[in-house]
Amino acid sequence: MYKYDQYDQQMVDTRVEEFRDQVRRRLSGELTEEQFRPLRLQNGLYLQLHAYMLRVAVPYGTLSSAQMKVLGDIADKYDRGYGHFTTRQNIQYNWIKLEDTPDILADLAAVEMHAIQTSGNCIRNISSDQYAGAAADEIVDPRPYAELLRQWSSFHPEFLTLPRKFKIAVIASETDRAAMRLHDIGIKMVKNDAGEIGCQFYVGGGMGRTPMIGPMIREFVPLDQLITYSEACLRVYNRYGRRDNKYKARIKILVHELGKEEYTRQVEEEFAHLLTQGIEPPLAELERIKPYFDDPAFEAGASDDLDLSDPDFRLWVERNTHAHKQAGYVIATVSLKPVGGIPGDASADQIRLMADLAKEYSFDELRVTHAQNIVFPHVRKADLYTVWQKLDEAGLGTANLDSVGDIIACPGLDYCSLANARSIPVAQKISERFGSAEKQAEIGELKLKISGCINACGHHHAGHIGILGVDRKGVENYQLLLGGSEGADTSLGKITGPGFDEDGIVDAVEKATNVYLANKQGEERFLDTYRRIGMDPFKEAIYG
């Protein structure tokens, strides 16, 4: 994985000092909370209902064991002994003291980590495919391009006070595992007819209160124009994105209001101009970055045999592993969704255990997924049983990847000052209702996503089943959505009808799954059945 050189290290060290200085000015009263707010947000520090929350960047979701270990240590030293992995492949700590934050950033900088631009109206942490470099279906590892973009977007002086936040994802396979088209910019690495690698640009996707699927605005941007083209997209947005209404300030609204053609025309005009400005790093820079993402030293001829005689292990292998490009290896996902647990939470000890296991069994590497789980990207099949046993002993052996128990949920009203309703208790109740392995196996793949407000941090629009918490006359109320998807077949869920209370929504989810089970044909997933039979049978069962 990528390693900082002296320059990268200097950038994060300087940021620590800058932020230390900003905190000093805040604590001394030179800065009011109102003045400090945008500054702390650009460094991932939120003021939530009970305490400060610090969001730490995990660029394109990739972590080393040493970094993971420090994330565990920070949870112990500065928080309440746990961390929360997020839908942006980051980690956040919910019980932070303002005066500790400069020291936390210093601890992070010591292992080449930071919290730069994990919040605020700027370019956020670049996300990517959690199976990058390990999946058999990618045309190239997307992460070198994400790293190039990470550096370009870090402290970009023109784009630190955009109309609104800005999220970029980079993928390189047909199977979209990063919800690419639901980002402000989605970049898909592609190969053209001449066999050259380039970037396909999708701009103006997003969730929030006005969900939109980003249209493709350019089929092929050559690699030596990637930064210039990105800069053109951003400049048009910075100049013309709406600033009169924060709910209409995302780039999706600009693209929608101008129309894809007009936005594209403006970008192309800006791009033609910027090409004359010499702002593109040389291809040699990409070539410098690429070897950091070379394959680890896989054992040639590693055995593909797996002893599946332990039924619990067998279930976990079936649910939580994915084919690896290298024979004898497998991609294993650690579910952070135990029955009745808080989605994405892990204790300091669990975090350190995963760090140790990755060091010993996964070439020192881990990934955070946007579904709030952890991936060991390169596990030898011969080691898999040992790895699972150690995970299982620590409460990390849950076999429910992409099933109804693998719920994505935002922190909701338990933590977040924007939320209208709690998300976590709903996730816990659903997870318990569908807790049995048999039930989950029967239902199969079902992506369930919960947001505690219309901002959609829990991606409810993209859930096969989505739940949106709203405030109805001071009472928490939950709307049900069906039919969303974030894959290559991205679609937005539709609301079934009137909302429910907390127990009612759990019942409604069960009724929806019953309709699926009664109507499913062959190998159909919940989503496939829904798409075939439509909303009516579900409505009838839920409200009839």
Binding site: G278, P282, E285
Partner: protein, 143 residues
């Protein structure tokens, strides 16, 4: 008029009153113009040879359109003064300078020591912008 607190230019200060972009394009004797966030700085490009001062107003420092305005002017070859006026705060200074600003007239005067620290903060930078600094990628790959 608010006083210029920091000026990074050696030439004589321009004190002509700045007119709006609309007035400027009609008023052929004006040499100073004030760009508001919603103005298109490119409207000035045909007139660069008669501009000595561009004031870019930040009614609120969190509205970042002025950064683009300054870069657009510098990229078109404008070499006169670009002055940030309005809600200019310490933490913007280094970024403004990188986008081509070379004079700063904050509505509320800034602590000079903190301001100097902000100007000097970054020994190196990741991007090529209007300040002509060699970005980190150029240092890594000397031509």
């Amino acid at each position: 008029m608010v006083e210029v607190q920091f000026r990074l230019r050696e030439d004589e200060a321009v004190n002509d009153p700045a007119v709006t972009v609309d007035a400027f394009t009609e008023q052929t004797n004006a040499s100073a113009v004030r760009v508001e966030p919603g103005d298109d700085a490119r409207a000035l490009l045909p007139h660069l040879d008669r501009i000595a001062l561009v004031e870019v107003n930040f009614p609120s420092w969190t509205d970042g359109r002025g950064y683009s305005s300054a870069r657009v002017l510098r990229e078109a070859g404008y070499t006169g003064e670009i002055r940030a006026v309005g809600d200019v705060v310490i933490d913007m200074l280094g970024h403004l300078k990188r986008c081509g600003f070379d004079a700063f007239a904050p509505a509320h005067p800034l602590n000079p020591a903190d301001a100097q620290a902000a100007f000097d903060r970054w020994d190196n930078v990741y991007q090529a912008t209007a300040d002509g600094r060699r970005p980190i990628w150029a240092l890594r790959h000397p031509a």
